[in-house]
Symmetry: C2
Subunit: 107 residues, 2 copies
C-alpha cells in the first residue's frame, strides 16, 4: 500500500515517528550539519554544498520546516534559514525520553 495506518497509533507515537522520519534522509542530515557549521544559511549555498538540484534542496528544507526544526527569514532577495534552537532541544529531549523509557531487561 505505502500508506501508514496512523489511526491505530497514539498521537505521541505518530509524532515521534514523524521526527525520526524527517531526520531519516542523508540530505536533511547534511543540511542540518551545514547550517549548524555556519552562522547563517542561504539555500543557494546548500545547492553547491550538497550537490542536489535547487528544487530538491528546497523540498528538503520544507520538510525540516514542517517539524519546526528550521525557521527562515527573508533577507532581501535571499532567505536566511536557521536552526530553531528551542525546537531543536525540545525534539532532542523527546527522542531521549523515548530511548530512556524504552529500556528492556530481558535476555
Amino acid at each position: 500500500m505505502g500508506i501508514t495506518k496512523s489511526d491505530i497509533f497514539t498521537e505521541k507515537q505518530n509524532d515521534l515517528a514523524q521526527f525520526f522520519k524527517v531526520l531519516g534522509h542523508p540530505a536533511r542530515v547534511a543540511i542540518l550539519q551545514y547550517i549548524g557549521s555556519q552562522n547563517s544559511c542561504i539555500c543557494n549555498d546548500l545547492v553547491e554544498e550538497i550537490g542536489l538540484a535547487q528544487a530538491t534542496i528546497s523540498q528538503h528544507l520544507k520538510e525540516l520546516k514542517s517539524i519546526g526544526l528550521l525557521k527562515g527569514e527573508i533577507e532581501g532577495k535571499k532567505m536566511c534559514y536557521c536552526i530553531n534552537v528551542e525546537r531543536w532541544e525540545e525534539i532532542q529531549q523527546h527522542l531521549n525520553q523515548f530511548f530512556n523509557n524504552t529500556k528492556s531487561n530481558c535476555c
Copy 2:
C-alpha cells in the same frame, strides 16, 4: 525518482539517516515500546497488540533487526525478540552527538 543519492553523502551521514529512518514509522516505535515494556516478546503478541497483519509486523521486525536494534532467539516454536541494549545505547549516543554537534548560533 524515489531513489536517494547516497553516494554524495558521507558514510556517517548515511548511517545516521538510516537509524532515523528505521525509527521513522509509528509501528516500529510502538513495537519497541511494547518490547521495552515486557521482559520478552513474541511476534504474535505484537500482532494483537499493534493491530497490523502478521506479515506486516514480521517485516517491521526485520527492519529493526537490520540496524541491530533487535535480536531474536528461537525458543522452541516461538521467537523471543529482545532489544539489543548495547546497540540501543550506542545508537542513542550517535543521535545525541549529532544533536549536540549541530548547534547553531545565528539569528
